[in-house]
């Protein structure tokens, strides 16, 4: 189908200076169909299998959709007010805020640290990078299996190691005992998975920094710390911004880690876990969709805010 609309240059392409516009002759009038032909398959998939289901789901947020108690009918913002009255949900909101705060901070810090560790060339560097991205490449169900073996109060590696080196004399409770410790430990598991990507993003920005900048700074007698503060940090901002956005999207949607490691407990339940409970256990799909809508909007707004605050285009 594409061959029928050939050879017309795209109207948008600016000819290189000093060259005539390539084959400028316009053979046919009418819209250029080639780009539409190229994006049509994509559009069909995205519209049919993502946007339409999403619109369907998100409009249900304004309906009373209780499978146990039909019929479905419009109920305005009732689902949203019901959510605001749900005490467990409010706790989950606070938990999720903590996950986001800890996760974005920790993955950014660890990401920068890992990126700087592999910034310069050394023997075996590509193997170290390969090891670094490994956690990112693994399926989520395996991640749960792996970390259960580490934090567990009765058989976990962490307990065993602490006892072996003599830091504690008997197994301790880590997950579930204290709300904030629980959240921290759960979030570490997620950071394990998302920090590799943060590291790569920062690494890309790092490698764009011209070496002369550091040399000049060294000549001026700057300490390593002040070089980091004055050169590295400002110049890796684009990478850091994108790393923070990806961390933000993933932490805001955290589900598997708290569910596997801490059950449904209010000490660690997240917002997306509540959508699951509300939709799949209470069978109140209207409220579930309402909460999904809230999460989607929060994700978009927060991402936008991070980009506005952190992202700066860098000129070297």
């Amino acid at each position: 189908m594409a061959q029928t609309h050939d050879t017309r240059p795209s109207s948008d392409r600016r000819p290189a200076p000093g060259k005539p516009a390539p084959s400028a002759a316009v053979r046919r009038r009418g819209p250029d169909l080639l780009p539409y032909a190229l994006v049509a398959p994509l559009a069909v998939f995205i519209v049919g299998l993502a946007i339409v289901p999403a619109i369907y789901a998100l409009t249900q947020a304004f309906f009373r959709v209780q499978v146990l108690d039909p019929p479905t009918r419009f109920n305005g913002v009732d689902n949203f007010t019901a959510l605001a009255d749900n005490a467990a949900l409010v706790k989950s909101m606070v938990n999720t805020a903590a996950y986001v705060g800890i996760g974005v901070t920790l993955s950014t810090v660890i990401g920068i640290a890992m990126a700087m560790a592999v910034q310069r060339k050394f023997a075996g560097r590509s193997l170290v990078i390969a090891a670094m991205i490994l956690p990112w490449a693994l399926p989520g169900v395996v991640e749960g299996i792996v970390w259960l073996g580490i934090w567990d109060a009765n058989v976990g590696l962490f307990n065993s190691a602490l006892t072996t080196v003599g830091l504690v004399d008997q197994y301790q409770v880590f997950l579930g005992a204290n709300r904030w410790l629980t959240i921290l430990l759960i979030e570490i598991v997620q950071v394990w998975q998302i920090a590799p990507l943060s590291a790569l993003l920062v690494l890309a920005s790092l490698q764009n920094i011209p070496g002369e900048l550091y040399e000049a700074a060294a000549l001026d007698g700057c300490t390593a710390w002040s070089r980091f503060r004055r050169i590295t940090l400002p110049l890796v901002r684009p990478g850091v911004a994108v790393a923070m956005v990806q961390a933000l999207i993933l932490t805001l949607n955290i589900f598997d880690q708290p569910y596997v490691l801490n059950g449904a407990a209010e000490t660690g339940a997240s917002l997306t876990m509540q959508t699951y409970f509300i939709s799949f256990q209470n069978l109140d799909f209207g409220q579930g969709y309402a909460l999904s809508l809230v999460i989607t909007v929060a994700t978009l707004v927060a991402s936008f805010a991070v980009v506005k605050l952190v992202y700066r285009r860098v000129e070297y």
Binding site: P31, Y36, A40, A43, V44, V47, G48, I51, V52, P53, I55, Y56, V67, L68, D69, A88, D152, A153, N154, V155, Y171, Q172, V173, L175, G176, A177, R179, L261, N262, G263, A264, A265, E266, T267, A269, F277, F280, Q281, N282, L283, F285
Partner: protein, 439 residues
């Protein structure tokens, strides 16, 4: 242009969806007249399949081929809910857990089993059938007879010089004596992780204190500090505070507690354990270091032997099934007394289903017990016959999952010291009142 194109394809897709909504999924013809032989039915359960030989014999006898799919319990509930919500076929026979009976019954998501087979004739030999009745209909047939039962490690009790308890007081004093004696540091296993096993534990403890958690109108009966439910919650949380329960249990689920505490001899007793655990875990040398040390106990109630709550697994036929009658023939075969005895290993390990707890037919249990094939069989048969009873006499309410979630998250918080027992009880009661009024 692109806009109108996008709008058009959106409309098309929207129509498909609207169609889906109207059509409701029930597709081809009348399923009840679908053939019952020379068909392949899909069976999806959170259980291992019977031996291939057994399934082949069933096919030979009936002309029905069984395609068996094993899905873990949590994931299976998600699948069932998704299928019900989307009104979609996914299996001809699948799990009906006792706790979902009310929900699935109200949704009318499963065929009433009394229309597909003679459930009345079954009732006498299958006491737990009552747990599967909702709104006068039998939603599923129990294929095993799991119930809550107290287990103790006899060696630890002997070592500490503590006699086998028969009442709640003796039981509690015994645990304190074991702790004081130092036989084990934390004698009692309560799985305080915020998961279903914690709710189950509370119901059983409430039973031991002589009551139930909801009355027959599903109103809470545990708000008074003198009520069995309140006392049970207090007893469980006190056990943590008095150092009877391992501190790590705050995040231990029922299965983890059995494997890492009971089976390792780290604790002396689990008040609300499951029937069949001795045979399937504690006496299995590959996973246990307490082989032949654990015993089942008649529930040490406030005043003598208490009840044993049923929590059996059932199997039913979804409304969307393609071959409901063939599925019913399969269920009849799968849950028959003689086959259950096979699943439990009466004719050797080749015919047994790994992890199968206990037949739901009393006659099968007695047969196993008399042949000495069932560890603790005598006690179990006796309990199944005399003291096992449904947690909710009228069947689990349709809002059970939400209620139970409040139970286990609140009790978990109380044990973690995040709220008082009184506040936890109040939270559970508020939820029960709201749900029973609305439902």
């Amino acid at each position: 242009m692109v806009r109108s194109r996008a709008v058009r394809s959106m409309l098309v897709a929207g129509c498909v969806l609207a169609l889906a909504a109207c059509n409701g999924g029930s597709g081809s013809g009348e399923p009840l007249s679908a053939p019952t032989s020379n068909v392949t039915i899909s069976v999806v359960l959170a259980s291992n399949p019977p031996s291939k030989a057994a399934l082949d014999a069933f096919t030979k006898e009936t002309g029905i081929t069984v395609k068996w799919t094993n899905v873990d319990w949590d994931s299976l509930q998600t699948k069932i809910t998704a299928a019900v919500a989307a009104k979609t076929y996914f299996a001809d026979a699948t799990n009906v857990d006792w706790s979902r009976v009310g929900q699935l019954g109200k949704l009318n998501a499963f065929y009433p089993m009394e229309q597909l087979m003679d459930t009345a004739a079954m009732a006498a030999d299958v006491p737990q059938l009552t747990s599967f009745t909702a709104g006068g209909h039998v939603v599923g047939i129990p294929y095993d007879a799991s119930f809550s039962v107290t287990t103790i490690n006899k060696n630890i009790y002997d070592k500490a010089g503590v006699a086998v308890p028969t009442t709640m007081d003796e039981y509690t004093q015994g645990l304190k004596a074991i702790k004081a004696n130092g036989a084990v540091q934390y004698p009692l296993n309560i799985p305080f992780a915020a998961a279903e096993g914690l709710s189950t534990y509370w119901y059983q403890t409430t039973g031991a204190f002589g009551g139930t958690v909801l009355d027959d109108k599903y109103k809470p009966t545990f708000t008074d500090p003198g009520s069995p439910g309140y006392k049970a919650a207090q007893w469980m949380v006190d056990a943590v505070k008095q150092g009877l329960v391992p501190p790590g249990n705050i995040n231990v689920s029922d299965t983890q507690g059995q494997q890492t505490l009971m089976a390792k001899g780290e604790v002396a007793s689990t008040f609300s354990d499951y029937s069949g655990m001795i045979g399937s875990l504690y006496d299995d040398p590959a996973s246990s270091s307490v082989v032949q040390q654990v015993r089942y106990l008649r529930t040490p109630g406030a005043a003598g032997p208490g009840p044993n709550n049923s929590n059996p697994d059932g199997v039913g036929v979804p409304r969307t099934a393609k071959y409901p009658k063939a599925a019913a023939i399969f269920i009849k075969w799968f849950t028959s007394a003689e086959n259950q005895a096979d699943w439990a290993g009466i004719n050797g390990v080749d015919k047994a289903i790994k992890g199968y707890p206990l037949p739901s037919h009393v006659s099968a249990v007695e047969q196993l017990a008399s042949k000495g094939q069932l560890i603790g069989g005598k006690e179990l048969a006796e309990m199944l016959k005399t003291s096992s009873r449904p947690i909710f006499p009228g069947g689990a309410p349709s809002w059970y999952p939400e209620f139970s979630r409040t139970v286990y998250t609140s009790l978990h918080s109380a044990a973690a010291g995040e709220m008082t027992v009184d506040a936890a009880i109040k939270a559970i009661a508020d939820t029960a009142n709201r749900l029973s009024a609305g439902g």
